[in-house]
Symmetry: C2
Subunit: 106 residues, 2 copies
Amino acid sequence: MSNLAKTNRTGKAVKATVMPNLSERFTPIQLAEAITAKRTGMKLSLADVSEALSISKPTLVKIEKGDTNVKLANLLKVMEYLGLSFSLLSDDATSKEETGVSDDWY
Amino acid sequence: MSNLAKTNRTGKAVKATVMPNLSERFTPIQLAEAITAKRTGMKLSLADVSEALSISKPTLVKIEKGDTNVKLANLLKVMEYLGLSFSLLSDDATSKEETGVSDDWY
DNA sequence: TTTAAAAGTAAATAATAGTTAACTTATATG
DNA sequence: CATATAAGTTAACTATTATTTACTTTTAAA
């Protein structure tokens, strides 16, 4: 199947999930919601993603339910395919976002 | 064991790894480096973390080597314990960080 | 309201991640 | 250099995740 957006019969999004706010530290549920929102927004079915990435549908469902008992590799494959990625945050107040490398930031 | 920093014989950090830049999308290797840097910075041994989280040392080593064939739950446990968390990024140019929820941002 | 597509679930099996225990190598200090 | 601590590795075993196949439910459009 194609790597680009796919349309249903009318070309309209079906049950499009609303995208959550992504700028802060996330919970697994929020991650799951973001993945579902991206996938449906791109008009891809679970079967589409399953075929494209060779990941079974039940596993994709687990991922989109926020189950953390999944392989990191599978989660990352899905995220990359959908154009999502992580950045890292540190709890510590001294490590401001843009400051870059520091010897003692924790 | 304690949840806070632990000292070795001299109270000095041993082989402290330099913290990578965290503000952009990361690779698994960079994530691994950040975890190792945080842990060593907090003066925690692999054994310390292993005991505290009930995760075996070989699994921790896999995580700190950037192996993605690990359970997401284990990675998140380690990150939370060390005070690290993720935020999400979208490839798409139209989804600017602070804009929050949008119906059609992909 | 009938139909088709997609989502979601379930059970059995296959694949593999995780643990345990023991050992080797590396690092730092006395 | 000798020693202690931590890091890293290995192999056998256990636990659990992933797949397959089939079925049920939901959703949306003709």
